[in-house]
């Protein structure tokens, strides 16, 4: 199986072939032998032997877990306790339902960065706002978070209402 994997700004070609109980995994043409033992639904223990003759004796032990990241839609991989975000075959949308929020170009769409409650809406439709001006206050986990306009413009549409509970990603207002 061949995969294109995006990680840390690099695009790697990863080819996986099964050989008996083990796998041979080639990253951009450099093969390693990998013994993968399953720990639980998300976790593998890997013992990796580098393919080159010189390093062939060194066996690296790595615990990894792989899970869809519901926020970004990418894969959240942990290598030990270190988190690494990975995109497989250009599919960024693992584990995330499309909310039909539309395209990102043109008007600036301010969305709730986390689930919470709209405490205050500081602008009205038609108001002129400047970059970094606070426009909506969302309370989550006992803290009030001022959401600011990314850039200046006119408030075209306000969907947030004071007292309203919102999910992460909910559209709050649109600045034209």
């Amino acid at each position: 199986m061949q995969y294109e994997v995006e990680v840390g700004g690099r695009r790697l070609q990863v080819v996986v072939t099964r050989s008996g109980d083990e796998f041979t995994v080639a990253v951009d043409g450099h093969p390693s032998r990998v013994d993968a033992a399953r720990i639980d639904g998300h976790t593998l223990s890997l013992i990796v032997a580098n393919g080159s003759a010189v390093d062939g004796q060194r066996l690296a032990s790595r615990e990894v877990s792989v899970a869809p990241d519901p926020i970004s839609g990418q894969l959240a991989v942990h290598v030990g306790a270190t988190a690494v975000t990975v995109t497989l075959n250009g599919r960024r949308r693992w584990g995330r339902k499309d909310d039909g929020a539309g395209t990102g170009s043109g008007p600036q769409r301010l969305v709730a960065p986390m689930p919470g409650k709209v405490v205050r809406v500081l602008v009205k439709a038609g108001d002129q706002v400047t970059a970094r001006q606070p426009v909506v206050v969302v309370e989550a986990m006992k803290m009030e978070n001022e959401l600011r306009a990314g850039r200046g413009g006119t408030v075209a549409e306000i969907l947030a209402r004071e007292g309203m509970s919102v999910d992460a990603g909910a559209l709050l207002l649109v600045i034209q």
């Binding site: 990680v7 996986v16 290598v79 030990g80 949308r93 499309d98």
Partner: protein, 509 residues
């Protein structure tokens, strides 16, 4: 006291349950709707539902808590910290119900819980206070009256909730133009968090350290101070790392602070556990800041260097027992202890809350490590409460060894499903200024601003390649794991990424 109702949730409720067990006392839990499966419920002998998830409808409802205490036949009530821990009406309601409140008297909470009244009490005890307004701002004070009070104190200043704590209901104001907004925000946050919107103004000292003194007082008039805790590492006025002893406190300053703390507490007839907070300036002068009339989040580090179980003593004091501890021992720390508050926040995304289900959790263990947690795999971190999931504490013979041990423990701390502040702590503990103890209360906010959102952990190319191998192997071995939640349509959702980019670039608040 045979049975104690714990009027709290999460990790502190679990901590108190452990003290109850060790004393042979039966612990009783209360829970809101979303906490039905929380660890504190599972550890307790009895558990009572007290209402919907929002704090105002459950953990802040006096009657519901007293009612649960009556039903269970509990004879004591421990408030933990946060929620009603510093609410004098709750302490009085517990007493009026014929139960023992495990904490100070309602009168002492009333005096010291009001920051303005506490400042007056400290001045009367001969302890210097930070300059500020003597009384809270009147609720109907006009903008020009507030501005005049601010001008008299001078900028920069802090707007602080009279009933505040934990950095909530507090705002820094550096220029007059921001004053009205800061007062409005602080009042609103204070009203929501504490049920009291009153605020006052206080001068902000330049580059002070936040040093605090733990106290225990019994009902026979003995007040004992402990070695100080260094709590200068704060993000937006919220402590994130604490350690004891402080590198900045000499033996002479230690005894002077301990004596000042004890005299303030004695002056108000203080009983049970409490903490006096001071600001220490660069010349070694200290000022009374406020008193917390409850157990503190950072109490474990004091326990680690003195060997005293503070929660057990809270219960013993409430039973009327005498504090028969050697006062010298409490001021002579054995080794060094440090605590990191593990929050469900995404440090690489401006520390936004990261509620959700914990998929995997494996906490560090081994020599000198203590993890006080209320989290387990499979539990949801709810959006309704403080996002702290655990307090990770390391003890060792000296500070460098304690830091090395904490860094080792952070490397073992595995949490998936939600983001946590673990990577941030790994970064912080590697900073030369932190390692050298060169910091003050605004140090962290300054270095975070200077970093401008750079990721705290930048995986090496070798680690990235292992991650790529892992993702590809999972796709081969268990495609259903990855595909199970995959959506039917893979349309780009620019929104999610846009707000992240936006949050990173602009900062929330």
């Amino acid at each position: 006291m045979k049975k104690i109702l714990i009027a709290n949730r999460g990790e502190i409720a679990v901590r108190i349950i452990r003290a109850c067990r060790e004393l042979g006392v039966s612990p009783v839990a209360v829970y809101s709707e979303c906490d039905r499966t929380a660890l504190h419920v599972r550890y307790a002998d009895e558990a009572y539902a007290i209402g919907p998830s929002a704090p105002r409808e459950s953990y802040l409802r006096l009657e519901a808590l007293i009612d649960a205490a009556r039903k269970s036949g509990a004879d004591g009530v421990h408030p933990g910290y946060g929620f009603l821990a510093e609410n004098e009406h709750f302490a009085a309601a517990v007493r009026d119900a014929g139960l023992t409140f495990i904490g100070p008297t309602p009168e002492a909470i009333g005096t010291m819980g009001s920051k303005t009244a506490a400042r007056t009490a400290a001045r009367r005890a001969g302890v210097p206070v930070v300059p500020g307004t003597e009384d809270p701002l009147a609720p109907d004070a006009t903008a020009s009256e507030i501005a005049a009070a601010a001008d008299a104190i001078g900028y920069p200043l802090l707007v602080k909730a009279v009933a505040g704590g934990g950095g909530k209901g507090m705002r820094t104001v550096t220029e007059a133009a921001d004053l009205a907004g800061a007062v409005r925000a602080a009042r609103s946050e204070a009203g929501a968090a504490f049920g009291d919107a009153a605020v006052y103004l206080e001068r902000r000292l330049t580059r002070p350290r936040h040093i605090e003194v733990q106290l225990l007082g019994d009902v026979h008039g003995t007040v004992l101070p402990f070695v100080e805790r260094e709590c200068s590492i704060q993000r937006r006025h919220q402590k994130v790392v604490e350690e004891t002893p402080s590198l900045a406190v000499s033996p002479a300053v230690r005894s002077a602070m301990a004596a000042a703390a004890a005299s303030v507490a004695s002056a108000v007839g203080y009983t049970n556990a409490g903490t006096i907070e001071f600001l220490l300036d660069e010349d070694g002068r200290f000022y009374f800041l406020e008193m917390n009339t409850r157990l503190q989040v950072e109490h474990p580090i004091t326990e680690m260097v003195t060997g005293i179980d503070l929660v057990r003593w809270q219960i013993r004091i409430a039973r009327g027992e005498r504090l028969d501890l050697d006062p010298e021992r409490l001021l002579r720390p054995h080794g060094h202890a440090i605590e990191c508050r593990i929050y469900a926040e995404d440090p690489d995304n401006n520390f936004l809350p990261s509620p959700g289900r914990i998929q995997q959790l494996r906490v560090p263990a081994g020599p000198g490590i203590r993890d006080d947690s209320g989290a387990t795999a499979g539990l949801d971190v709810p959006i309704f409460y403080d996002p702290m999931i655990s307090k990770l504490v390391a003890w060792a013979e000296d500070r460098p060894l304690a830091l090395a041990r904490m860094r080792r423990a952070l490397g073992e701390y595995l949490v998936t499903g939600i983001k946590t502040t673990v990577p941030f702590f790994s970064w912080l503990l590697a900073q030369p200024d932190f390692q050298a103890g060169r910091f003050h209360t605004t140090y962290l906010d300054e270095v975070l601003k200077a970093r401008n959102g750079r990721p705290f952990v930048e995986p090496s190319p070798a680690v990235e390649e292992i991650a790529a191998i892992a993702a590809a192997l999972e796709a081969v071995m268990s495609p259903s794991t990855l595909a199970a939640d995959a959506p039917a349509a893979h349309a780009e959702r620019p929104n999610a990424r846009r707000w992240r980019a936006h949050a990173r670039a602009e900062g929330l608040r």
